[in-house]
Amino acid sequence: MQLTHLQSYVRPTDLPAAIDALRFGGRGTRLMAAGTDLVLSGSDEITGLVDLAGLGLSSVEDRDGTLAIGATTTLTDVMQDVATGTYLDGVVARMLQRVGTPPLRNAATIGGNLVRRQPWSDIIPLFRALDATVTVFDGEHQTMAIGELYEQAAHLTGAILTEIQLPRPPIGTAAAFWKFARSEVDVATLNCAVMLHTDGDRCTAARIYIGATPRLAAAASGAEETLRGAQLTGNAIADAARTAAGEIETGDDLRGDAAYRTRLVGVGVTRCLMEARDRIREVRP
């Protein structure tokens, strides 16, 4: 048996009923989407589950250029949606292709990944680089920057994530994702995501996030600053990569030590910036 202390399971069909079930369920009650991570945890602390599968939160929608993703949409359904394929050259679909295995992607949900905040998440660094917003429900709907999910624990424990929005990118924007893992299906030893805004050959703003350091994804703010106003030359990219490797704090775990990860930061930032630059050049007339 996976969750030996589970005493209650409910599948509400509307958000107010779901939030009530969470609030009145007691300390051991958790929200569940597919449950893949919760089942794997085998946690004795879990005594109640509120299954979000009945809330109708599974959809992908192109909202005038903004990609809106329902929180319980499976990774496969996000990856294979036409709107995902056209958003920023399909960067979200390419990233999801690197997450887990097909049977896992058929079950695991985009919101579950964001809320479980595993440090090796591939989705979190890319969505932070893409400047995503999220909508949560705690009795009322609130929309906020995705970073707030990780800065205020209440959004993760006392509210229901309902939707993620990836904003419409202005012309001259490109994004890239890079992952280093021990095998195709392993979690990341390190990952990196980049979004570049450009005006001609000049970078007007960059967003760079590094994950699995082995802590949760963080911004490489110094590297972002070196790129502001710079021509995207090889030297500028190398400078940004060096800055990122110098500023991102790395650590040891079974997948790699801190020095190795620091080397990976430089590699990841270089490859992401080169890919994003090349994608911008490809679409320019």
Partner: protein
Amino acid sequence: MSTTITLTINGIEQPVAVELGESLLEVLRREGFTSVKHGCDTGDCGACAVLLDGDAIDSCMILAVAADGRAITTVEGLETDGRLHPLQEAMIDAGAVQCGFCTPGTVMSGIDLLSRNADPTEDDVKAALAGNLCRCTGYVKQVDAVLAAARVMKGGPDVGSG
């Protein structure tokens, strides 16, 4: 704590008694669907893969209660009028079965792919089978089998298998 859920397993709707914390894998095996193999219990090996509403999932990672009201297909349900599924036939023809432990899960991932993509490339098949570990075949014959099944299911000649 136990409860009774309704599962449609291989086309037959039935009440099933489950413990709340049990995985779908544990319940299916107890109900006699032993093609669903108990491998890693961590969603890595794919031996427990079944179709849940048509999508291949690792049944070790899903609670049985979360499958209440849904349709499950296991290898036991693939036969039609005494004939194996084209992918099962192709697995035999290609010599893609050795010890057989991974085969049911691999077949499920192959059927999932063929339901989404009737004309897969070799790379498509390799990507689709990435969640099914096999320690016997070296995967080559499994990939050949899925490609051969795709040709048969499209109604074309099975030119790929000897």
